[in-house]
Amino acid sequence: MTRRTAVRAHPDVVFQKLGDEAVLLNLRTGVYWSLNHTGARIWDEIIHSGKLTEIVAALQREFAGSSAEINATVRDLVRELNQQGLVVVDEEQ
């Protein structure tokens, strides 16, 4: 993943915010996933901005932690979401 990587929700995925958390449902597999507060914030940014750099910047404004730490958290989650078919990652735009 590079600075220009874009991320969007997979078209087969529907989601709902539940307070600070979120539930993602893969309509193809029937498997659902829950996201904690941090995960739900990252998901929000995936929906609203979709640019990896902007997601990291938004999280940096809200959460304590070094830039490297937040960057790694976001990338780890995006990678996992991608592996589970919950997002689509476009490497170059």
Partner: protein, 409 residues
């Protein structure tokens, strides 16, 4: 001076000496008339305290609540998601229960997302095929009441269509991969459609979606009111983004539904309490009374209102006349039923219970007369084809004769 909950709201308490106000409070609260709460166990009372709409009174949680037992009752009655919605951060409720309820809420959210997505797709296809359709209960009711589809579990998708469109709607569902339990020929037959009532006017359709069995029920009668009246009174609920029954019809429909199930399933009473909290101000009481009369629901509504008042402290004064002494006596007798998940019993027992809550002797006779009509299955040959009407009536007559002779022996 702080206003007491028991004081009449039209009397300005600030103008009185405080001891007078206190005395009056005592006079108002005693003598108490018998209530449906009298027959309940402590665990039921605690559950009702948790479920009381927060607008009715601050939640009173007993210090000695039996939380493990309460957890079991909540699970049995499918109320975990609803309680998680309200008590996610309520310190007086043990953390392990709140976590468990939150799990129920997550699972409910996921299941409801599936149903909501499926329902939206079906409604689109039905409208494209020229079929007017409305969502009933289900996730749309959760959106209407709570703005949150996860707050209330749903089993299935209930869709209302006009009786003239049932066969076409079933065809659309077949096209979408659903197995429709009744043949189109039967669903197009007027004699069959007219012979059904609000309890039997449905056809179940099933399909596997993402590994889950999704059940859609198509309904064409849900209140004993003229179909044209129901369809001409539809209302848009902006908070849910749906157009469905107007508040008066919806309220009566929910009452008819809970009464049809013998008041089993506390969640249905919770829905009605929340519906009244939200919409009583928008409902025309006089019209509601008249519609309850037309739909033969005065007793059903009266008993429901008494249970809601006793359980949740919600009173809809415009329909006070329906909460008669008879309704109160019946509600007290039925007070434990909402703590059963569903109405158990044989078909004849269920019919007896439904006959008992008809508004008068004429309505009871009408209900019994409807039992003479062939059932869904009696309209079908063993190979699944539709029988001619005379044949279906003959099968019904034979079955009734066997039942009656069986009873008399």
């Amino acid at each position: 001076m702080a206003e007491s909950a028991a004081q009449p709201r039209d009397v300005p308490t600030a103008a009185r000496p405080s001891h007078w106000a206190l005395r009056e409070t005592a006079l108002l609260s005693a003598p108490q008339r018998p209530s449906s709460m009298d027959g309940l166990q402590p665990v039921h009372r605690t559950l009702l305290a948790l479920l009381r709409p927060s607008s009715a009174a601050p939640t009173q949680i007993p210090a000695d609540a039996d939380w493990p037992e309460l957890g079991n009752v909540v699970d049995r009655l499918w109320l975990g998601a609803r309680l998680a919605h309200r008590f996610a951060s309520e310190q007086r409720v043990p953390l392990n229960l709140r976590r468990w309820w939150m799990q129920a809420r997550l699972a409910t959210a996921a299941h409801n997302l599936l149903l909501e997505n499926e329902e939206a797709g079906l409604r689109e296809e039905l409208v494209r095929a020229g079929v007017d359709v409305i969502p009933l209960k289900g996730t749309s009711l959760a959106r209407i009441l709570y703005g949150d589809a996860a707050a209330r579990p749903s089993n299935d998708i209930d869709l209302g269509v006009r009786s003239a469109n049932v066969a076409r709607a079933a065809g659309v569902l077949r096209g979408a991969g659903y197995e429709v339990r009744l043949p189109s020929a039967l669903l197009a037959r007027r004699a069959f459609l007219q012979g059904t009532d609000e309890h039997t006017s449905e056809v179940k359709c099933t399909r596997k979606v993402a590994g889950a069995d999704v059940v859609v029920e198509l309904h064409w009668k849900w209140l004993r009111l003229p179909e044209s009246l129901v369809w001409s009174s539809l209302t848009q609920y902006d908070q849910a983004g749906v157009r469905t029954l107007c508040p008066e019809h919806y309220f009566l429909f929910l009452c008819a539904h809970v009464a049809g199930g013998g008041w089993a399933g506390l969640r249905w009473l919770c829905d009605i309490a929340d519906f009244l909290t939200m919409f009583a101000g928008r409902m025309d009481g006089a019209r509601c009374r008249e519609l309850a009369r037309q739909a033969a629901l005065r007793r059903a509504v009266g008993i429901t209102l008494v249970l809601i008042e006793d359980f949740f402290g919600i009173r809809y004064r415009a329909l006070d006349s329906l909460a008669s002494e008879t309704a109160r006596r019946t509600a007290r007798r039925y007070c434990l039923r909402p703590f059963q998940p569903f109405l158990a019993g044989t078909p004849s027992g269920i019919h007896r219970a439904r006959v008992a809550i008809q508004d008068n002797a004429w309505r009871r006779a009408q209900y019994l007369a409807r039992l003479l009509r062939p059932t869904h299955l009696e309209w079908l040959n063993p190979n699944g084809d539709t029988r001619p009407a005379a044949c279906a009536w003959a099968v019904r007559a034979g079955r009734l004769a066997r039942m009656i002779s069986g009873v008399s022996q």
